[in-house]
């Protein structure tokens, strides 16, 4: 969560958040809503109904060129040459040592290059890197004139189907370009909560109108960054800059699903040598989920100890799980302590609290899978 006191940027929905009485906080250089009515209520609303998030601070861009998919593969370990029209894929921007520079979504909502969405705190660096690394073969256009909304929760599909029935048919990780609310939108069935839902890229000048139109549905409430964080934690999804960073590899971060089969076989992505080696044997640490069984929530930075009390790692995110009613955390431990069921300790304000390695997601994901 990189905060800056320098220039505070605003999303096109800043006035709308303030009008709703949101508590605003600095986040990644932006003035963002952390909560409206309260983190717990917003968290629960999203799990039960539909939550609307302003994520316009995230970076959106289009990569175009002779073969932008092949070009993009120079920077990420995903199979983008094999990405079909109407699909998107999660991937990782890697440095030459295989460290994670950012995580991202890139998809083909239309037949016009690759639509890329990256984290707000990393977007300037990411886009500069992509543009420079691929300057002889592709052109990156930043879409700074677009806002980004996410609508998430079990009722999100019904809400969106009201605006276009086609959206109910979109499968998880599919994307499309269509006219919605009378404007040109990129829509994907994806999100950062573990729930079914959509991410919707819209022209900035239509953002306020669309925000209000969606909130006009009684099933939809605005959700701040506070609940966004507790929802993604329950879903086991890493927060870049906390649960993964330049010092962690995709294998350490338990993100091997982002390494496409063909790309591994070709060993053709940045840091492939290290990453493939880690896959076959040598791993120093691994991101795991923890059920903290007693006491206070274990937050980022809390030490993790083995059953003998020896410190073996650190918590990278943690807090209460409103859905489960107990404390959960993610952190890095050596592989020997990463087995499910391993009894560990987390140290919070000098107290050793019992914790157990558990599977992630902590709360079952409920993505929409299209009938075969």
């Amino acid at each position: 969560m990189s905060e800056t006191a320098e220039i505070t940027l605003k999303t096109p929905l800043n006035a709308a958040h303030r009008a709703l009485g949101a508590r605003m906080v600095p986040f990644a250089g932006y003035d963002m809503p952390v909560q409206y009515e309260g983190v717990l209520a917003e968290h629960r609303w999203t799990r039960e109904h539909a939550g609307l998030f302003d994520v316009s601070h995230m970076g959106q861009a289009k990569l175009r060129g002779a073969d932008p998919f092949k070009s993009f593969e120079k920077l990420v370990p995903g199979d983008y040459q094999g990405l079909k029209l109407g699909k998107q894929r999660y991937s990782l921007l890697l440095n030459k040592d295989g460290g994670i520079l950012d995580d991202l979504m890139a998809g083909r909502p239309d037949d016009d290059g690759l639509f890329i969405v990256v984290n707000a705190a990393c977007k300037d660096a990411d886009f500069a890197l992509i543009a420079d690394a691929l300057k002889h073969e592709a052109t990156l256009e930043r879409l700074d004139d677009r806002a980004l909304l996410a609508i998430q929760g079990p009722e999100a599909a019904e809400v969106m189907a009201k605006h276009d029935p086609k959206l109910a048919e979109l499968g998880f990780m599919e994307c499309t370009r269509l006219a919605l609310f009378g404007v040109d939108c990129f829509v994907s069935r994806s999100g950062y909560t573990g729930e079914d839902g959509y991410e919707i890229s819209i022209p900035a000048d239509a953002a306020e109108r669309i925000w209000h139109a969606l909130l006009g549905d009684a099933r939809v409430k605005p959700i701040g960054l506070g609940a966004r964080d507790s929802l993604r934690l329950e879903a086991g999804l890493p927060l870049y800059g906390h649960d993964a960073d330049e010092s962690t590899s995709p294998v350490e971060a338990s993100l091997t699903f982002a390494l496409s089969k063909r790309r591994k076989e070709e060993a053709s992505f940045p840091g492939a040598q290290r990453i493939l080696k880690e896959l076959s044997s040598e791993l120093g640490r691994k991101r795991v989920g923890l059920h903290v069984k007693e006491g206070a929530p274990a937050r980022e930075g809390a030490e993790i100890a083995d059953s003998t009390g020896k410190v073996i790692g650190k918590v990278t995110s943690g807090g209460p799980s409103p859905t489960l009613g107990h404390n959960i955390a993610m952190g890095y431990v050596p592989p020997a302590s990463a087995e499910l069921g391993t009894e560990l300790k987390v140290i919070v304000r000098g107290k050793e609290l019992a914790a157990e390695v558990v599977a992630m997601p902590f709360v079952a994901q409920r993505y929409y899978r299209k009938p075969a």
């Binding site: 983190v39 717990l40 206070a296 929530p297 807090g319 209460p320």
Partner: protein
């Protein structure tokens, strides 16, 4: 009731001060999900961490507005931490401190001064 700039309150009976946080502080914290109260018998200096209040997002220290020994702690908050939001100046108290220097209370704000301080924020 007297107040600190960190939004703690104390209510004095004899030489025992009951300590909690104000409505304003409770609203700023948001949903309280965990409270760590001090052990009875613990000696605190004014400004020491007396309790820790955890919201979904973060942990916040509650500082001792006065020096003294903890003579009672509100153990019920471990079961119902939400009382801090519901009744911050009532059932949401954290601890009772037997003051070593009751004159420290004189240095705290009264209601009018605290209200003026809040208005200035």
């Amino acid at each position: 009731m007297r107040f600190t700039k960190d939004h703690e309150w104390v209510s004095v009976a004899g030489d025992v001060a009951t300590v909690g946080i104000t409505q304003y502080a409770a609203e700023q914290l948001g949903d309280v999900v965990f409270v760590e109260v001090p052990d009875v018998g613990k000696t605190l200096n004014k400004g020491d961490s007396l309790a820790v209040v955890e919201s979904v997002k973060a942990a916040s220290d509650v500082y001792a507005p006065v020096s003294g020994e903890v003579v009672e702690a509100n153990g019920s908050l471990s079961v119902t931490p939400e009382t801090v939001n519901a009744e911050p100046t009532g059932g949401g108290w954290f601890a009772k401190v037997k003051m070593s220097d009751p004159s420290q209370v004189d240095g705290l704000m009264d209601q009018a001064a605290y209200d003026a301080y809040l208005a200035s924020l």
